[in-house]
Symmetry: C2
């Protein structure tokens, strides 16, 4: 699908006028990002409305002490509206996005999207539902981080990311995504290796057939 | 102010029609809760739009393992719309509210509030901003729980709750509000008492003048 078809399909439920729909189509962009690329340039960067066409992104929050935690992930077909300009003016929290592999996204700039959101209640309510979904997911992820042991969190993470028993992640990436420290993650991975539950390779982890939560 | 004046003041920015405003006024209720009371009856309970007139509430999430964490607090003047029916249909997460002291709230039932939200984009966007604010606050609170030591979290909590150096909370309440276990909280409080930073009383904690973060 080209961007015109994508926008028409995506925005159909919101009952935009023909002129507004055409404007959204004209202003929509398809952007590509490489694995590891951060999708923001500065504090005021904002993508407006975002739809993941391929690949996956993770949303993470950075704290003053340079620690970070992944609060949710976006996969193909997921929409997102989370940037400061689009939702809340809030200097205290900055949600960042990182491409977890090659990523293609469709975006409608905030200058176009914001007025639409203020004009069409169905669109405003769609964004509200999206935000509620991300809110729920964030609380689930953070509560797992709070209430599970690091060992449990790493196991659950590896199981969720394994593709044919292989997880292509560095210790640093795992630490960032589950909100822990690299040293602690490495220590537990080595313990799991000693127990025969996995093998550590270069940039990847090979789970044994016995590996389970 | 009576409920009519409260609703008119609160809903003025949303440009409701006279009929819709009158309907909201007719349906609004002022409710009172006692300290410790939980503001929900069952999974489907929902207060629609809620404005805190006096007292304070805490919103917390309960997990399968019976652990809970406070994700934000609501004080006088704070509005909230967070129940399942009003925002997201999501069985995985249930946000509960507890009265932290004597509480008086103004509510507009979801049956009235939802159609208004779908009709008036300004109202939909107001709810979106509210949710974004709670989202941010939740992430701040949970990240503090994740990234601070328990000692730091307890100190910071006591400082935020102290009234004339007195914190009227049980160890259990503190544990619940910061997402920890009662035993762990009691242990640290005893350590702080041994250091002369506070005195433990019945249902209250008296901070010494030297107490600081």
């Amino acid at each position: 699908m080209d961007k015109k078809e994508l926008i028409i399909k995506e925005f159909a439920p919101f009952e935009l006028s023909d002129a507004d729909m055409q404007n959204a189509i004209n202003q929509a962009k398809i952007l590509n990002f490489n694995k590891g690329e951060i999708l923001y340039k500065d504090k005021s960067a904002c993508y407006g409305f975002l739809l993941v066409l391929s690949g996956a992104l993770r949303a993470f929050v950075l704290f003053a002490n340079n620690k970070e935690i992944t609060i949710f992930e976006l996969e193909k077909g997921d929409e997102c509206v989370l940037c400061a300009k689009c939702i809340a003016q809030n200097d205290e929290l900055e949600i960042n996005l990182e491409a977890m592999d090659e990523v293609k996204i469709l975006v409608v700039a905030p200058e176009i999207f914001m007025p639409l959101r203020l004009k069409y209640p169905k669109l405003a309510n769609f964004v509200l539902d999206l935000l509620a979904k991300r809110f729920n997911k964030s609380i689930q992820i953070m509560s797992q981080a709070l209430f599970s042991t690091l060992n449990e969190r790493i196991k659950s993470y590896l199981l969720s990311k394994a593709n044919n028993n292989i997880v292509e992640k560095t210790h640093e990436q795992i630490a960032n995504e589950i909100g822990s420290a690299r040293e602690a993650v490495s220590r537990i991975l080595k313990e799991l290796e000693s127990s025969g539950l996995l093998r550590l390779g270069r940039g990847k982890i090979i789970l044994s057939d016995d590996f389970k939560f």
